[in-house]
Assembly symmetry: C2
Homo-oligomer: 160 residues x 2
């Protein structure tokens, strides 16, 4: 799995180069390191979490750059923003269609793979509104295992 990961990361970094060349954007160290850092995390980090992480390899990097590079990655189709309930953007390097569960208490995000979505009816309905559909994602709100006890406690307190 480790070897596969390295191969996977190398392949993805190559994709970054190709995408940059196609758009005539320079392949900077920052872009490479930020993308690689994002690829190595599976926890859908926020820009600030990535900043803290990237800083260890590039101590001089600025927070601004992290924000800017992440948006560039989104434009290049190499990352996606996850819509979440808080006013913090989270990023995911997996741009294949998949869904997310978000904990309503701690805001943790988890992937839901292998749920083929019946997109057809949604696309059709969306086109009734005049929208041109780009993609659809399921956002599942829930309570993660770590917060379950806390959640039960609160719910009981409210219904009293």
């Amino acid at each position: 799995m480790a070897k596969f990961d390295e191969e996977h990361i190398a392949a993805k970094l190559h994709e970054l180069e190709v995408a940059c060349h196609r758009r005539r954007l320079p392949v900077t160290v920052q872009r490479r390191v930020i993308y690689e850092t994002l690829l190595r995390r599976s926890d859908h980090p926020t820009a600030d979490q990535l900043y803290a992480d990237v800083r260890r390899r590039l101590p001089g990097i600025s927070r601004t750059t992290v924000y800017r590079v992440l948006e560039t990655l989104v434009e290049l189709g190499l990352a996606m923003r996850i819509p979440n309930r808080q006013a913090v953007v989270r990023y995911d390097p997996n741009t294949e269609q998949h869904h997310h569960v978000i904990c309503v208490l701690c805001d943790r995000v988890e992937d839901l793979e292998g749920v083929p979505l019946a997109e057809r009816p949604i696309r059709e309905q969306a086109e009734v509104t005049g929208f041109e559909v780009l993609d659809c994602t399921m956002v599942v709100r829930g309570v993660c295992p770590d917060c379950r006890d806390d959640y039960r406690r609160r719910t009981l307190a409210n219904s009293s």
Copy 2:
């Protein structure tokens, strides 16, 4: 339709009173006016848009109160937050299950009613991750009619 709307709004305002009593929360003017204003809009307003609107009826109201009351409405189950790509929260007084299309350019939100979602497989998959599922919504990203030309123009420019 107008008469129905008024009846509908009266019924919903009554729901607010019931919900407040049940939780032993005072039914304040602000709560009533903010909820009614939200009910009369179908554009999924942000807290700030509602503030501007509510101000006309309650000139002395503070922005803080609008934010606080909206969160109370969510807790009471009378409104829901819509996850959107920007760092701005939007509110919807329709708490029935329904989905949303969001314009990637202007961030406008439209309802998608009548798309029965096959929730079963999603819930099952979510429970594999250990999450207790509360609800699931489809988030469709797309381009609204007003932004379509702009979008086509940008896309062509990028692929050149």
